[in-house]
Every structure is written in structure tokens, then in C-alpha cells.
């Protein structure tokens, strides 16, 4: 299935697939890889592993906001590429931040 889709995506898009896609909240890294099946999929790596960020704290809103969608939802691992142990810490940190009104439960931060 992947063999079928790959040539079509390369012919229709040329190179740098995913550049034209609207920016996805959470997976904000450039070339982070498109989520759609039709496109070439780049291997995503965990931001926390590569940048060696160990402390995922609820006070670090700027960091957490990268992994929260516009709607306020936590962006799933399959879109951001965060590894399981880090996603676990991340989600608990986001929930703590929500509790203390640093992040919204739903919708944009008013």
C-alpha cells in the first residue's frame, strides 16, 4: 500500500511534501512529517529525546502549548512523534497546567 501511494505523492507534490499543509498545532516542527497516508512520511523523533529535555513541568506553558491543539486537546503521539514515556509525562503536566488555569480545558486561552 505504501508502494502505491508513494509515487503518486511524489509526482503530484514534487518534493518537500507537507509544506503546503496547514500548520498542525503540536507538531509544529518544520518537516515534522505530514500525518496523511497519501504523503511521504518522514520518520518523526521525540522532541524531548533529541533535545534532551528531561523536566516536563506544568509551569512551562510555552513548552506544553506546542503539544496542545487549538481546541485545547492534547495532540496524540502519532502526530507529534513524542515517545511513550515522554508523552505520559507530558499529558500529566498538561492536565496539571489545566487545573491551575495555565492551559485551557477547551478552546483557546482567553
Amino acid at each position: 500500500m505504501a508502494d502505491e501511494t508513494r509515487p503518486t505523492s511524489s509526482s503530484s507534490e514534487g518534493h518537500g511534501g507537507g509544506e503546503r499543509r496547514p500548520p498542525r498545532p503540536g507538531g509544529g516542527r518544520e518537516g515534522g512529517g505530514p500525518g496523511g497516508r497519501k504523503y511521504f512520511r518522514r520518520k518523526k523523533v521525540c522532541k524531548f529525546c533529541t533535545e534532551k529535555i528531561e523536566a516536563i513541568n506544568y509551569k512551562d506553558v510555552r513548552l506544553l502549548a506546542q503539544f496542545v491543539a487549538e481546541s485545547g486537546k492534547i495532540v496524540p503521539r502519532r502526530l507529534t512523534g513524542v515517545c511513550t514515556p515522554h508523552q505520559r509525562r507530558l499529558s500529566s503536566a498538561i492536565k496539571q497546567a489545566r487545573n491551575i488555569a495555565l492551559l485551557p480545558f477547551a478552546g483557546r486561552a482567553a
Binding site: 528531561e54 496539571q96 489545566r98 495555565l102 485551557p104 486561552a109 482567553a110
Partner: protein, 133 residues
Amino acid sequence: MNRTYELMFIVRPDMTEEDQDKLVSTLETAVASSGGKVKTFEKMGKRRLAYTVRRFHDGLFMLLTFEGSGGLVHELERRLRVSEPVIKFLSMRIDEEQKRLDKIKAIRDSKRKASAAPATPAEPAAEAPAVTA
């Protein structure tokens, strides 16, 4: 058994400076009276809340780090709950997380030292053949 906790609370934005200090000092005395120790206290300033809490859009964020037992946390939370200007609070145990971070840091430092140590003797060795040639 003393543990380290972090208590973040939000007070209403129109609270006067004196009232804030009064509230904080009552909390600090509560910590001291139950055998705990205040480590740090920080006013994080006025911030916009992500959602409205008791019809407030802004709040003054405060952060108190202290050592103490679980009963002390209960006592502080009870005090915050009954004090009217406090609109939200969150207490968290942080010593285990800190321990984990220190451990990771120690491992990283030891690795860095191990990688740095063989690099220095390698340099003269590389130089030596160049000189003889």
C-alpha cells in the same frame, strides 16, 4: 518523614499588597508550626487565566516550595480553601521528580567526563607522528 512540596495558588488580581503579605505570612507560620520548612516563595506576578475562574480573567500567581509532611499539605489546602481571595491552588510533591532529574544529570555528567577524558590523551598521540614525519 519530610518531603518537598510545591504549592501554587492564584489570588484575585485586586488583592492589595498588604493582604497578600498577610496571607503568605499565615501560610509560612503554618508551615513552621507543624515542623516544616519554607524553601522558597515566589510571586510570579499577574497572569491571564486560561479560563474564567469565579468571574476573574486574571490572577496573581504565587509559588511556595516547602518541606513537610502530608498533614501539613492538608492544613495548607484547608486554609487556602477557606480564604476568600484565593481562587485556585495546586499542590504537588516534587522531591521524587527532583531526585529523578538529579540522577539523569549525574549520569549525563559522568558520561561527559568519560568522553572528555580519552579525548585529551589522543591529541598528543595524533601530533607525535606528524612531528616525526
